[in-house]
Amino acid sequence: MSVLVGTETRLCVSGITGSEGSFHALNNRSYGTNVVSGVTPGKGGQDVEGIPVFNTFHAAVEESGANTAMIFVPPPFAADSILEAADAGIETIIAITEGIPAHDELRVYTQLKRMPGVRLIGPNCPGVLSPGKANVGIIPASFFKEGNVGVMSRSGTLTYQIGNELAQKGFGNSSIVGIGGDPIPGSSFVDVLELFENDDQTELIVMSGEIGGDAEEVAAEYIAEHVTKPVVGYIAGFSAPPGKTMGHAGAIVSGSKGTAAAKTEALEAKGVRVGRTPTQVAEIAVEILGG
């Protein structure tokens, strides 16, 4: 199957008339993603290389049957766009936008949790790629082929690095999910673990985490109790000094909590093997699944 995006995806792109939005919408379409519409207030009735543009998500859902949204609008408008997509009945919302204010993210997160059936991936994420089926976001799809390893990550380029290491060992992917590097991600590792656990195509799960917060520690507990498939971990940020933000708003270590060592320890204590380099992650995958 794959998770979150696939052959059933009917994508509507918010911010489709912007330069980034149109570039990636068309890129996603040429990969094979069914891009059915876009939303830009005031530009309804236009089209972007044949993709119809609507003024509101509500019109986009009604007219084009969109069930998935990609959010590409700038930070001041992103929270509003996510809430609009959810209100219009979109089930899967993938927010690429980086730099959304934390309080906006908190309000959005809280509201969406009260809307059963709505799922937010991101913000500040590279999107979701299900090789051979659909690509929603900015992941360079040509490096990945269809296969049995599910990858989830807090970082974009690190995902590509790990995916590439896996590819060089001959592995393909069911889905690659960027959950994003912000303090309040719409979906956590636990949410995506649940999806991979229930996905027939996925036989191994790779979790790429980083310093800050407690998402990896919570995931370790969840894996021990609910995940039967093997999980391989990776944690970035061993050499990060405490109290410094390393680019991602989420990647900040305060005191002893949230360090790379503490996260690795928490995962290993629950039987999850953790690679110390991206290369090692792929080597462990070979040991578990065979070359």
């Binding site: 934390a102 680019g247 991206p278």
Partner: protein
């Protein structure tokens, strides 16, 4: 972004949180003029973004002009835990009947604001939380409902606040929450909240951290950014829009994407090297960003070798190669480089680099190979 105490208090005052009056000063003369205006006794307070100022001698009560001058001279320029004092806050002295603690923190794990209240104010709150955790009353606020009156009452009763102060402390917490929301703070902490002999509640200190991502809609707060407390390289990087953190080692690191750069630091460290910085050029770095990044990295005189680790997604490897060539043309670095290019347009990028044949630039095809080479070069070995 962290605020200085007096900036935090000015922010509080905008939201009608009572604070003692005071005047900031950057020189001894300014401090003396401020003291004269406020009257004696007054408090001379070092303005640095670190706790423990009192113990370090950075907070003194001046009874007269002679003392005010003496303390201002002593505290200006003082080093407090590695932070130099450039500013003072001259404040009216307060009469203190009791000292409490109040804070609101953006609790990312719980995905809600956490409000804290304790009667054990004026001391190291981390110590209180370790030794006597029940002395701190806490609760989370529903982000869509906001802070409710019953929550203020509950906190006050659970913290053991005297009956006659339940209402004024509740008012104080309400205003603190309003400040937290309106200013989009990640932290507002008041230690101590004081009760004066006539039963007034005041914020005697203020520790405020604001969300950098929200500063675009708070121009007044954005203007408070103080370039003087940033490292020169970090300042230069900020001006160029690059995410840069200076570290203690000698290997300059450049990459795209925070996670990949952190991972690069780790792999270099595993191979026995010491990174000199974190530098994330972000997604879609254009040639001029590369040129600027080289400038920032090489302006740190500890750097003896530089590693470029790129996995192109939005970033195109041919742009990175072009930027590097441009950087070498305008200002040739004196240290060796190792460049690893993978991802979007990697073949083209590698071809451009090979053709340019830049002096002291080596290539690597994997992250591990790149780390191995850069560690050798940084030690002065040849490849």
């Amino acid at each position: 972004m962290d605020l200085l105490e007096y900036q935090g208090k000015q922010l509080f005052a905008r939201h009608e949180i009572p604070v003692p009056s005071g005047i900031p000063a950057r020189t001894v003369d300014e401090a003396l003029a401020a003291a004269e205006q406020i009257g004696y006794p007054c408090v001379v307070k070092a303005q640095v973004k670190i706790g423990g100022r009192g113990k370090a001698g950075g907070v003194k009560v001046a009874a007269n002009a002679t003392e005010a001058r003496e303390y201002a001279e002593a505290i200006l320029g003082m080093d407090i835990k590695g932070f130099t004092v450039y500013e003072l806050w001259i404040e009216e002295a307060s009469e203190i009947e009791a000292e409490y603690y109040a804070a609101i923190v953006f609790d990312r794990s719980a995905r809600a604001a956490l409000v804290m209240l304790s009667t054990q104010g004026g001391m190291d709150i981390e110590q209180v939380s370790e030794e006597n955790p029940e002395a701190i009353a806490t609760l989370h606020v529903d982000p869509l409902l906001g802070f409710q009156p019953f929550q203020a009452r509950r906190l006050a009763f659970e913290a053991g606040i005297p009956a006659d102060l339940i209402r004024p402390i509740g008012d104080f917490l309400n205003r603190l929450y309003a400040t937290f929301i309106a200013e989009e703070a990640m932290l507002v902490e008041v230690n101590p909240v004081i009760i004066t002999p006539d039963g007034k509640v005041k914020a005697l200190d203020a520790k405020v951290t604001l969300d950098d991502n929200a500063l675009f809609r708070h121009a007044e707060n954005a203007a408070l950014r103080d370039p003087s407390d940033e490292d020169p390289q970090e300042q230069m990087a900020r001006d160029y829009g690059l995410a840069y953190v200076k570290l203690d080692g000698n290997i300059g690191i450049f990459g795209n994407g925070a996670g990949l750069v952190m991972s690069t630091l780790d792999v270099v460290t595993l191979f026995g090297g010491e990174p000199a910085n974190f530098l994330d050029a972000g997604g879609g770095a254009k040639p001029e960003a590369i040129t600027r990044a080289v400038e920032v990295i090489c302006s740190n005189e500890n750097v003896t070798a530089v590693l470029f680790n790129i996995f192109g997604g939005i970033t195109r490897c041919d742009d990175v190669a072009a930027g590097l060539i441009e950087a070498f043309a305008t200002n040739p670095p004196s240290v060796p480089f190792v460049v690893r290019l993978d991802g979007t347009n990697d073949v083209e990028g590698r071809r451009i680099l090979a053709e340019a044949d830049l002096p002291g630039v080596y290539t690597a095809s994997t992250m591990n190979e790149a780390a191995e080479k850069i560690v050798a070069l940084a030690k002065g070995e040849s490849l």
